[in-house]
């Protein structure tokens, strides 16, 4: 049996732990730079606010409604998530963290000795009490069915936050009332096609013969079909190895000149390099993209993307910044107002097995750069992030203070709540 532990409206619920006054109100959390809605409370969903709605449109689309909008506070969400996952690990031996707000547990061996319904209810109650996060738990023979169960647990209070599908009759009943488009892994892409085939609920799909599925749909879909019939075959462990790392931002304003863009791109490349080093990997493809504002129909729209292949895989800040900077020169077009840019690194392999280039590599240089980067990491860890940066990463000094702003302050988060759990200056105040 598998269990999924899924946080209810994770980001909003994190905020509500420290702002109980937000309970019962429509609350949305916005993406970086307060761009668009990425999380909604149940009240906000009920109003009809859709995920992805640009923040600036909220007031027009919902006139006269008081909607609490908050900047995303990923430091807080990350800490709360880590606490929740640690509690789950007390309850199950094999836990796969699937995303910031959900994890799977493999309950093999436990189903014989433990009453799983009780187990799930107790776990949900404990997470609620210890961390303040409401979670819904679904338990079933496969991950896909567990997902279905968790949705029932989320929707109907009668389940007491935990729904178990442990018999064929329960499986059929649950799938019969479950819209097929909501099945994990199906989504909107197949929705229209399934509808045209007369399939509306998940049971109608599960009951189709295997040959029929195989004829009409690709393999991942077939796995989903199998899971709906109680045969476990979706392995989620691979999501844990990162295949690419991306750092991207939209800018608070618009950027037109090449050098400001370069400063941003250099910082993104540096972030990627740090992340590579932290997981002891190197990359050999650096991708840079820049784009203008899609919402400004009055301005010329442009989106450019370029890959740079490194001769020798690297995680050195110097190498990545140089590659990204070179790509920017090729992409940059004069006279446009840029709104968003990013750096993606891929082709990620362990740093223990770097393939050197036969003609171009300079092993000494590589080792030296590597050691510089690691030294910078350790200084930045001890003295605070961005104590030591490349000159290319430096933002122009603020004329008032004479100080160059830090990367992390260069994004807009006007509506951000304090980092209640990770910064002593930000802890809750108690009267």
């Amino acid at each position: 049996m598998y269990a999924i532990i899924d946080c209810d409206n994770c980001f909003v619920s994190c905020e509500r732990v420290f702002r109980p006054d937000l309970e019962g109100k429509p609350v949305v959390v916005l993406s970086n730079n307060d761009g668009c809605v990425v999380a909604r409370s149940n009240e906000a969903k009920k109003l009809g606010i859709k995920e992805g709605t640009p923040y600036f449109k909220l007031a027009d689309e919902f006139p006269g409604v008081k909607i609490e909008a908050l900047s995303s506070n990923y430091t807080l969400y990350g800490d709360m998530s880590a606490r929740i996952m640690a509690i789950v690990r007390m309850y199950a031996p094999r836990v796969e963290v699937y995303s910031i707000d959900e994890c799977f547990c493999d309950l093999a061996g436990m189903d014989q000795t433990v009453n799983l319904k009780q187990w799930g209810e107790e776990l949900a109650a404990r997470i609620r009490k210890w961390v303040g996060m409401p979670v819904s738990i679904g338990i079933a023979d496969t991950k896909t069915l567990a997902k279905v169960a968790s949705r029932y647990a989320k929707t109907y209070a009668g389940y007491n936050k935990c729904c178990v599908i442990d018999s064929d009759s329960k499986r059929r009943k649950a799938l019969g009332a479950f819209p097929v488009a909501k099945v994990w892994g199906i989504g909107r892409a197949y929705d229209a096609r399934l509808a045209s085939l007369g399939i509306r609920n998940a049971l109608e799909l599960a009951d189709k013969p295997e040959g029929w599925i195989r004829m009409l749909f690709p393999l991942p879909f077939e796995n989903t079909w199998r899971e709906l019939n109680g045969v476990s075959c979706i392995d989620t462990t691979e999501v844990n190895t990162k295949k690419s790392i991306c750092t991207s931002r939209s800018f608070p304003g618009m950027i037109t000149d090449r050098e400001s863009l370069r400063t941003h791109i250099s910082n993104y490349a540096c972030r990627c390099a740090e992340k590579l080093r932290r997981q002891h990997t190197v990359c050999n493809i650096v991708t840079v993209f820049i784009a203008t504002n899609w919402f400004r129909k009055d301005l010329e729209w442009y989106q450019g993307m370029m890959n740079v292949t490194l001769h020798t895989a690297s995680s050195s800040t110097t190498d990545l910044v140089a590659a990204a900077s070179g790509a920017l020169d090729r992409l940059y077009r004069e006279g446009l107002s840029y709104k968003r840019a990013g750096v993606i690194v891929s082709g990620i392999t362990p740093d223990s097995a770097v393939q050197l280039d036969l003609f171009l590599s300079d092993e000494e240089r590589r080792k030296r750069l590597d050691s510089i980067s690691r030294t910078a990491d350790s200084i930045n860890r001890r003295m605070g992030t961005e104590t030591l940066v490349l000159a290319a990463q430096q933002y122009p000094a603020d004329p008032k203070t004479g100080k160059a702003p830090h990367f992390k302050d260069a994004i807009l988060h006007n509506l951000r709540t304090p980092c209640y759990t990770t910064n002593l200056q930000d802890i809750i105040s108690v009267k």
Binding site: Y74, S99, I100, K129, V131, C246, T421, S429, V430
Partner: protein, 158 residues
């Protein structure tokens, strides 16, 4: 929806790294260093340095911090600026110092649960100029956590 809305969701900086907590690697540790000659006679008596995190935080998963603002608990030795170690996993008992949420703010009081069966909870300040607060089921109140330690800074010139 803009193609970038989707990208921004995926690419915003949430970094998900799953820690592998299932394996530990203990390294041999030569307490007195390795040298030729006579070993330190104190070596057998050395222990790990005291770690206040371990002593004061029984349950890190459920522990949060708060800062005191106000003087309602002054007679208990708790004053503005003190740091509270709040453990949400502790089941409150009468006499515990708790952080509650009442009328839109966090409040620090002793809790009296002796009349809980009748639906009444009393919040008791440690300052004679403040009244006790009667909490009835109609009021929007919840106990947020139990204070396990208070930390007070005693020096002002560092």
């Amino acid at each position: 929806m803009s193609p970038f809305c989707y990208i921004c969701r995926v690419m915003d900086e949430v970094e998900l790294l799953s820690a592998d907590l299932t394996h530990t690697l203990s390294l041999p540790y030569a307490n007195g260093g390795i040298r030729a000659g006579f070993p330190s006679p104190a070596q057998d008596y050395l222990e790990e340095a005291l770690d206040l995190n371990q002593e004061l935080i029984a349950n890190p998963m459920a522990t949060f911090y708060g800062r005191v603002k106000g003087d309602s608990m002054i007679d208990a030795g708790v004053e503005s600026g003190d740091i509270l170690v709040i453990d949400r996993s502790i089941e409150p008992e009468s006499g515990d110092m708790i952080v509650g949420y009442l009328d839109g703010e966090f409040t620090l009081k002793y809790v009296d649960l002796s009349l809980k069966d009748t639906g009444v909870i009393w919040l008791v300040p440690a300052n004679s100029s403040y009244p006790r607060i009667k909490i009835t089921p109609e009021r929007d109140f919840r106990i947020w956590g139990v204070v396990s330690y208070t930390i007070k800074k005693r020096i002002n010139h560092i």
